[in-house]
Symmetry: C2
Subunit: 220 residues, 2 copies
């Protein structure tokens, strides 16, 4: 061997390379589509890799195992999914705040129905992988926002109701349009993607919630 100077390259400066960032994003996107449509067990990593435009082996170069991919997708979604509730403002007008919240939730159901379905799927199976998040993050968040609602009730701004049930019912109504999209489309021929239908859904949900709280929804 010659004693010539060994040129070495910094092993990994920090963060992700362009290629990694791009491929991980493609994988997570494809995985969301598959997991939300076919469930965890119904999805194969080969299908995901195909959808992402790469070989199965290459996918396993980026994520060590199938559960790893699933958890990455879930984590990637959860923050976005819970964001609207976080922004419920105690100082705002109840009718305006709740209307905005409902609109945001419906917007997410319209724009990212797969995320809603994946979340629903996970919870329906007993939430084995996000139990901790529910217990630690969501539980606190719900308690905090329940207090906001209770505060509005105490101030006489809305009718007496159980805040937790109110939150559950808003989740139920808004997520239903994403989770049961197929059924809705079969029955009506439309989905939230249709602007008219989306407006109809918004008005129906908002009217029901506001009048349920003794707030007359303003006519247009």
């Amino acid at each position: 061997m010659s004693g010539a100077k060994r040129q070495t390259r910094k092993p990994r400066p920090e963060g992700l390379s362009r290629i990694q960032e791009m491929n991980r994003a493609k994988i997570l996107d494809a995985a969301l589509g598959q997991f939300s449509r076919y469930g965890y067990s119904g999805t194969t990593i080969e299908k995901i890799s195909g959808e992402a435009g790469m070989s199965k082996s290459n996918l396993l170069y980026y994520f060590a195992s199938k559960p790893d991919i699933y958890e990455a997708v879930l984590e990637h979604i959860l923050d976005v999914w819970l964001a609207p509730l976080r922004s419920l403002d105690p100082e705002g007008d109840p009718a305006a705040e709740l209307s905005a919240y409902i609109r945001q939730k419906l917007q997410m159901s319209a724009e990212r129905p797969e995320a809603s379905r994946l979340f629903a799927n996970e919870v329906m199976q007993g939430a084995p992988r996000i139990r901790r998040v529910l217990e630690e993050d969501l539980k606190g968040l719900v308690a905090e926002k329940s207090e906001v609602i209770r505060h509005w009730m105490a101030a006489g701004k809305i009718r007496q109701t159980d805040p937790v049930h109110l939150i559950f019912l808003i989740w139920a109504m808004t997520q239903h349009y994403a989770d049961f999209q197929t059924q809705i489309e079969v029955l009506t021929g439309r989905t939230l993607q249709d602007p008219d239908f989306r407006k109809g859904a918004e008005e129906a949900v908002i009217a029901m919630v506001l009048s349920g709280l003794g707030l007359v929804p303003k006519d247009r």
Copy 2:
């Protein structure tokens, strides 16, 4: 061959034998539990047979294949699942009829949450096996009951709303308590099985729906 008289037995009189009836029931029950918890692909026939207390081979003696079992379970459930809507009476008082409907739906969510989850699972995956039922039976049923609601609106008994959205929202709110049972239990420590919690849910849903229709829910 001797010419002795062959004693033969009637091959199969009619209907199912006691043993068949019992085992088919055990299988369908076990299958519902598994399919609703783990989804179609996440369920193995070996697990089902184990839960039903028999060997895998024996299960396959009663049902020819996995899809066969799944469809049998689904069919077995669908009638029961849609029954409450059928009984919505045009001649009755809107507040009483809708309250009763909501109570029935919540009762089913409380007593048969697995059925609700299986149905939700099927629809979320695009309803590949019950599309026909949705298109042919449910679509007609929804159209018929929408007409009932429209009739109530025309008679000035309830406020103007889109009947189809109303039906969707009632489904959403009532089924949510079954489908998201895990989440609800994590957040509140309770489920519909708890009588107090169930009463709270009933009141919350009924109050919201009735006031949304301009009907003041009667205090107690």
